[in-house]
């Protein structure tokens, strides 16, 4: 199989040797000019300790680089991946901008562990926010190196030189010029970015900030975009994995005789891993259905109804993440006090592509292609499973059929590695849809308690917020509240602070904008409750309780686009508003809903989202992300909830687990505002976080019924209306 079948993602030299020293590394990637960059990245993500430990394998003092090749083409090598959110387009834009080359001459190599320096993974809207500035810096540095080379070659003082369109020319005699290809010819120059070169000012930007079509679109409409399950190696086998009926179930009896009667089927039992392999995936699946397995089920009494009482009891000691003033003083100032509890349910990532990996273990070496947001995590998982050195594992990232935080663990790659080692053949593991639901690291269920108070004039005077199991992100207040405290109890996943993961009946983890969906639902619902009690329009109430000009501006921008006119809720109009600050991206969402009271059904008719992410690198991509987030967010707002009993997951396919559909679609309008003075922040997550609250607030405005639990199913809406 051609390993470079996917040149936007995987380019040349993909078969290169592993375990590279710096010198070998440079040898492998060929001649030209190299700029190495290091950037700090917030590991607000699970298992940071493990990730750090895994790091020293490739050259360790940088974590991305770019090359100007002897053909003048520019290539960026990064361990980030493309999962649909558009980094494959926005990163080259940033590079082209600072390096003064046409966008068409920029290539990007993503997630190849032999070619790309170590990277923790693609999550948390970090690609643009953290990596972007470092990449721009590297490009700016490369431009300066090229100028130095040109000064020598053209014998022109450097301050007379200017870069444009992939060439350096003399400003006084533009015909005196050298192309980047000419300058890179026969060179092997290595530079390390130590100080921040001057980046272009926002006014100077020409490529960034311009809408660009997706670079991967053509492949995706012709079927040529290859995902992990589309890859074929000679002699490969397809595997299906036996799934227990419940988490914690213990296998007590196994009968594989019927399965093994299927011609060509091979059953492998390797400890807890039981798999059927076949040269056809569907035959492996058929044989799997013939396996008879008896289990002892765990003694578990939790279900999707009693889980919240359990979480309240199980919550560990809290950690104060924000505070100011004095809550007792604040309580004395309150004319009206509020004490509310909000609940949020477990939700599944439910990517359309299930976890898939193709691994070929040959002796002490392995090659792996996996649907993963963390290629270097795949490398470690495969190395451990096959009992070989991580240096000898080459991971190549194909296209990924959606991630949203769900493809950060790489269990399927470890399974494929074990089976490949056992059989001596390449093995492709594809999780079935039921496997995918069962093994998912769900967004944690959460309990959110807010005590707050307002003065006679509608000023918020205190805010006492307790977050149980949602996590910290977006829990901090941005309203102007003199007396406040936010305490986080129980983290999600294995994140910092330890938490109590055993409180959950199954694995939980990062789900698009972790913690923020729950925290924003609670905060923005509470704000609305207070506004209604104060007899004020919810938009005016927010503006009055803010002293943050940037946030006020984004609320006004949304109101203008929406055509918001002040009214006290419930106005009967079915209008809602919610605002948020997600990792530096400010946004306000407004929605209009229609509620069928008899059926308890909600149709979201219109959504306006105004967003300020500093500068939108690719406004077209940012708009697409807003639309995507709003559409996806309708699911956790209205229907998505993992049902379970004991440790058995009841939702195993899309018949009971309802994703948003075309018929749910509101009219979506996006407004992008720039704030050139602030750092550029990400856009793959923010607009999803307001969807719970904006719909809840709109339902209240329509009906006077307040929903305290997500998703807002017909049953819950009907109960709230009573």
């Amino acid at each position: 199989m051609k390993k470079d079948a996917n040149p936007d993602i995987v380019v040349d030299k993909a078969g290169a040797a592993s375990s590279l020293s710096r010198r070998e590394f440079l040898k492998v990637v060929g001649g030209g000019i190299f700029i190495f960059v290091t950037y700090g990245e917030e590991l607000a993500f699970e298992e940071p300790a493990r990730s750090q430990a895994a790091r020293p394998s490739l050259p360790t003092d940088f974590n991305a680089f770019l090359r100007i090749g002897e053909d003048g083409r520019v290539t960026c090598f990064t361990g980030k991946i493309e999962q649909g959110q558009g980094a494959i387009t926005a990163l080259p834009q940033m590079l082209a901008e600072e390096l003064e080359v046409p966008l068409s001459s920029v290539d990007i190599v993503l997630g190849d562990t032999d070619l790309c320096p170590w990277d923790a993974g693609t999550f948390g809207s970090q690609t643009i926010r953290s990596f972007g500035p470092a990449l721009r810096g590297a490009a700016a540095e490369a431009r300066e190196v090229l100028k130095e080379l040109a000064a020598e070659k053209l014998n022109v003082p450097i301050d007379r030189l200017q870069a444009k369109d992939g060439a350096i020319f003399d400003k006084t005699r533009p015909q005196t010029r050298a192309t980047y290809a000419e300058l890179a010819q026969g060179k092997k120059i290595e530079r390390h970015l130590t100080q921040k070169p001057a980046l272009k000012t926002p006014a100077e930007l020409k490529v960034m900030g311009q809408p660009q079509p997706r670079r991967d679109a053509l492949k995706k409409v012709t079927g040529e975009a290859h995902y992990a399950g589309d890859l074929r190696l000679p002699g490969m086998l397809y595997a299906r994995i036996l799934r227990p009926p419940a988490h914690g179930a213990k296998l007590k009896d196994l009968d594989t005789s019927a399965a093994e009667k299927i011609s060509g089927a091979r059953v492998i039992r390797d400890g807890d891993l039981i798999a059927v392999l076949h040269e056809f995936p569907d035959e492996a699946e058929r044989a799997m259905t013939l396996i008879k397995a008896q289990y002892d089920l765990p003694d578990a009494t939790l279900d999707d109804k009693n889980i919240f009482d359990h979480l309240i009891k199980a919550a560990p000691e809290g950690r104060t993440v924000a505070q100011g003033g004095n809550l007792e003083e604040g309580a004395k100032l309150a004319a009206v006090s509020f004490d509310e509890t909000y609940l949020n349910s477990y939700v599944a990532h439910a990517t359309i592509e299930t976890h898939t990996a193709l691994v070929s273990v040959e002796g002490d070496k392995a090659t792996a292609w996996a649907s993963s947001q963390a290629p270097f995590g795949v490398r470690d998982e495969v190395a451990q499973a096959a009992g070989i050195s991580a240096q000898n594992v080459h991971v190549i990232s194909p296209f990924i059929g959606g991630g949203f935080g769900g493809k950060t663990r790489n269990t399927q790659a470890g399974q494929a590695a074990r089976l490949s080692k056992t059989t001596g053949k390449p093995v492709q593991v594809t999780w079935s849809r039921a496997d995918e639901f069962f093994n998912d690291t769900f967004r944690p269920a959460a309990v959110l308690k807010i005590k707050s108070g307002i003065s006679n004039s509608g000023q918020i005077v205190f805010w006492d917020y307790e977050v149980l199991f949602a996590g910290e992100r977006s829990s901090q207040q941005f309203y102007n509240i003199p007396h406040h405290r936010t305490v986080v109890r129980g983290e999600w996943g294995g994140g910092r602070g330890g938490g109590a993961p055993s409180a959950h009946p199954f694995s939980v983890g990062a789900w698009r904008a972790p913690a923020s969906n729950s925290n924003t639902f609670a905060r923005e619902s509470q704000i609305d409750i207070m506004a209604a009690k104060a007899g004020m329009d919810p938009v005016e109430f927010r503006l009055m309780n803010l002293n943050n000009g940037r946030m006020q501006r984004i609320i006004k921008a949304a109101a203008e686009k929406f055509g918001w006119t002040p009214a006290k809720a419930p106005s009967g109009r079915g209008w809602g508003v919610a605002s948020a600050d997600y990792q530096g991206t400010y946004l306000t969402t407004m929605a209009e809903v229609a509620v069928d009271k008899a059926a308890g059904a909600v149709q979201v008719k219109r959504v306006v989202c105004a967003q300020d992410m500093g500068i939108a690198v690719n406004p077209e991509g940012a708009t697409l992300q807003i639309e995507g987030c709003i559409t996806m967010g309708l699911g956790y707002a209205l229907t998505e909830e993992v049902h379970f009993k004991g440790r058995e997951v009841k939702d195993l396919n899309f018949d009971t687990y309802q994703l948003p559909r075309f018929s749910w679609l509101p009219k979506i309008e996006a407004v992008l505002l720039d704030s050139p003075e602030v750092a550029i922040s990400g856009g793959g997550e923010p607009p999803i976080i307001t969807m719970g609250a904006v719909v809840a607030n709109a339902i209240f405005d329509a009906t006077g019924a307040r929903l305290y639990q997500l998703p807002m199913t017909p049953e819950r809406i009907k109960a709230a209306l009573k």
Partner: protein, 160 residues
């Protein structure tokens, strides 16, 4: 039961010795190396495996190959003609009507069958026709725009 099955695949006569109870999806993806149709839910709920059989959009994960004998199959790989994208493919590119792209083949082929039956659909008819195709990234708005653009561009004539 293993038998020889003949059908037209993307315009070409095709003959295949295969266990005819197997599902078309897997025969396409493995025996015929056409991986544009995707496995996602395996039970016909999502539409990622959609292909065209005699002008109808079908869920290939639920279609035994014995049912396609003598029929005309079109997969996403066969939609472009002589290197020219079909108007639907062009419109999907133009409107950025995908993110991760895993549902895209099924979306385009479902829309293709829809336009064969109803070349000038209303927005409501497009929504109804597409409602059982799932997309997790939330590209729905763009998909609808792309189908409308393609329908307008084709002026009522759906071409291969």
């Amino acid at each position: 039961m293993k038998e020889t099955i003949q059908f037209r695949l993307n315009g070409k006569p095709t003959k295949l010795a295969v266990d005819s109870d197997r599902m078309l999806l897997w025969v396409l993806r493995t025996d015929l190396s056409l991986t544009g149709a995707k496995y996602s839910c395996g039970e016909g709920f999502c539409g990622a495996c959609t292909v065209i059989v005699n002008r109808e959009a079908v869920r290939s994960c639920q279609t035994p190959v014995k049912t396609i004998k003598g029929k005309d199959i079109i997969t996403i790989e066969g939609l472009a003609k002589d290197g020219v994208l079909h108007p639907l493919q062009q419109a999907f590119v133009k409107h950025d009507a995908m993110q991760c792209g895993f549902c895209t083949s099924g979306m385009i082929l479902t829309a293709y069958a829809l336009l064969l039956k109803n070349p000038r659909p209303t927005l409501k008819q497009i929504i109804d026709g597409m409602d059982d195709n799932l997309c997790r990234c939330g590209s729905h708005t763009r998909v609808l725009q792309a189908i409308q653009t393609a329908a307008e561009g084709m002026k009522g004539a759906v071409k291969r």
